[in-house]
Amino acid sequence: MNIRWVRGGAIVFFLLFIIAVTWPGMTPGNRIFPLILGLPFSMVWIAAWVVLSFLILVAVDSAEGRARRVSASGKSEDPLTAPGPDAPTNGEGE
């Protein structure tokens, strides 16, 4: 998968995260029942987004690592000075 799509997807995910834990996006998750593992649903809702971000970050990291290796081998330079693919010239970062 193109690394730009991965980065774009990650940015979209974290924007969704912000919406989901603030007004008004929090509303669907903002209730007490059902209790999950004994915890109120509202707390689990937020914790689930935290766990999900961990999985997303792991996926992004492995995709970035692959892209770095490809660009390093493609240009056959010293991998330390090869341009880092995590640095788009026009990127805002995620």
Partner: protein
């Protein structure tokens, strides 16, 4: 032997181990500013993980976190929400800052900013704001340590002595070993905090109410308003969605800009270490779940503490727990306090020397380290003084400092990503944003929809930054180009 003797012995053991680790840590670091402030840029993943985790979760997490959940209910969930949001951008920003640090020799945040936007005023302004924001923060950590020790020893070790001993030890290891001590002690303290929080978070509800689910079912029946966002305010009224949502936003924007955290980008061994630290950060964040459970356990507790922040020590002392558990809890709370306090003292002194004093007087490497050590003691003494003669205003100061620290975000993002941005625009934005933040802090009733004053500051900051940028011209676009190329690719700036 009386009960508090055993508790005291456990605390003393914990403090000895921390001191030992702290003193040992510095033996391999070089005798240089880079060694003292940036750990020779050699920290691996384990230390970086715990530096970010343990530093971010201060005494506030062990005392304030349960205190919030206890008195304000789901309002506390905002703390669970912002951490990961604040750290995620670091996946891209951290390595950029680190590459610039390696290439140009930066060890502080302001050095990076001034490297891109040359201005002595900017450097001194950042240094002054940093020290101003740090003093109340350190004071609260010290008080936290003193309160816990006083509570668990039934007042046999008063606040002044407990805080004095705990922070005397912090001073010793920060003076000797610099950031290496901060890193290694945070690793030990971080492990300790995690174990204690999860153990107590599961043990207390079972012991008191028969289980986590049983406890929340009862709270839902008796105090349902505590279990849905946005929870309550400090005075017990319903909090507003505007206040809750912007508390998350401003904290997410500001958290990684705290100088004691930002500077740690310069301590990492390589870019991969920073990226992995960000990837793993959410796992540390989840430690807030047991912290909240502990606070909620207090809701149904038959007695109430004199102040909500004391709910945890209060419950622990009245639940007839074994002295060993109480002692370990206390050590966990001290870990949380000291792991943040040491980072603050160290970073505050480093920033004051590198970005403040160093801009007016040329100092050699040895003089810089000497002055930093002097300032570590000086800042510690000022904070200790305030810790003993406390007023409520300190908590208020700390909350307002988040709005100011968040104003560091646009300049640093511009420095790392935006080639067009100019020095006058960055200064104008920072001054305007900080002024608006302070205005709404002192005139809170004028805030629309209860929005956080820092968010209002940013609403002025960003247009000023962008507007002035397009009205002015960068006198030396080549150097901005070179700066950004280094951020992107690393390597030699020349």
């Amino acid at each position: 032997m009386e009960r508090w003797h055993l508790i005291g012995i456990i605390i003393a053991l914990y403090l000895c181990v921390t001191l030992g680790i702290g003193l040992r840590a510095g033996r391999r670091a070089s005798k240089s500013v880079t060694g003292y402030v940036a750990g020779d840029r050699a920290f691996g993943l384990l230390i970086m993980y715990f530096i970010f985790g343990a530093t971010m979760f201060s005494a506030f997490a062990f005392l304030g976190g349960p205190g919030w959940a206890y008195s304000r209910g789901a309002a506390a969930f905002y703390i669970l929400s912002y951490g990961v949001l604040g750290m995620a951008p670091w996946y891209s920003m951290g390595p950029r800052a680190a590459r610039l640090g390696r290439a140009y020799g930066y060890v502080t945040q302001a050095q990076l900013l001034v490297g891109r936007f040359p201005s002595r005023f900017l450097s001194v302004l950042m240094a002054a704001l940093t020290v101003l924001a740090f003093i109340p923060y350190i004071t609260l950590q010290m008080r936290g340590a003193g309160i816990v020790i006083e509570a668990v020893t039934d007042g046999h070790i008063p606040l002044w002595l407990g805080a004095g001993v705990a922070y005397g030890i912090v001073l010793l290891y920060v003076l000797t070993s610099g950031v290496a001590a901060v890193g290694w002690t945070n690793t030990f303290q971080g492990v300790f905090m995690l174990i204690i929080a999860w153990t107590l978070g599961i043990y207390l509800p079972f012991r008191l109410y028969g289980g986590v689910g049983d406890m929340f079912t009862r709270i839902a029946a008796e105090r349902p308003e505590l279990l849905t966002v946005p929870g309550l305010t400090a005075t017990g009224e319903a909090w507003t969605w505007g206040g809750y949502s912007t508390a998350i936003l401003i904290s997410a924007i500001g958290v990684a800009m705290w100088p004691h955290l930002f500077m740690k980008a310069f301590t990492a061994k390589d870019d991969t270490t920073i990226r992995r630290t960000v990837v793993l950060f959410p796992t540390f964040q989840l430690f807030l779940i047991p912290v909240f459970i502990i606070g909620f356990a207090g809701v149904l507790f038959p007695e109430a503490p004199p102040e909500s922040d004391f709910i945890l020590p209060f419950m622990i002392l009245r639940s007839e727990l074994p002295a060993l558990v109480v002692g370990l809890f206390c050590a966990g709370a001290l870990s949380a306090s000291m792991s943040t306090g040491d980072a603050l003292l160290h970073a505050g002194a480093s920033v004051a020397v590198e970005d403040g004093v160093g801009k007016f007087k040329a100092l050699n490497d040895r003089q810089q380290r000497l002055l930093m050590r002097g300032l570590v003691v000086g800042m510690g003494a000022v904070a200790y003084f305030f810790a003993l003669y406390e007023g409520v205003s300190l908590v208020v100061l700390l909350l307002s400092s988040y709005g100011i620290i968040a104003q560091f975000t646009p300049p640093l993002v511009a420095a790392l990503y935006w080639r067009r941005a100019t020095t006058p625009a960055v200064i104008a934005g920072l001054v305007a944003g900080s002024a608006v933040t302070l205005f709404f802090f002192f005139n809170g009733h004028l805030r629309p929809w209860d929005l956080h004053e820092g968010i209002l500051g940013l609403m002025v900051h960003l247009p000023v930054l962008i507007g002035v940028t397009y009205l002015t011209r960068d006198p030396d676009p080549g150097s901005a180009e070179a700066f950004l190329a280094t951020a992107r690719d690393g390597g030699d700036p020349t």
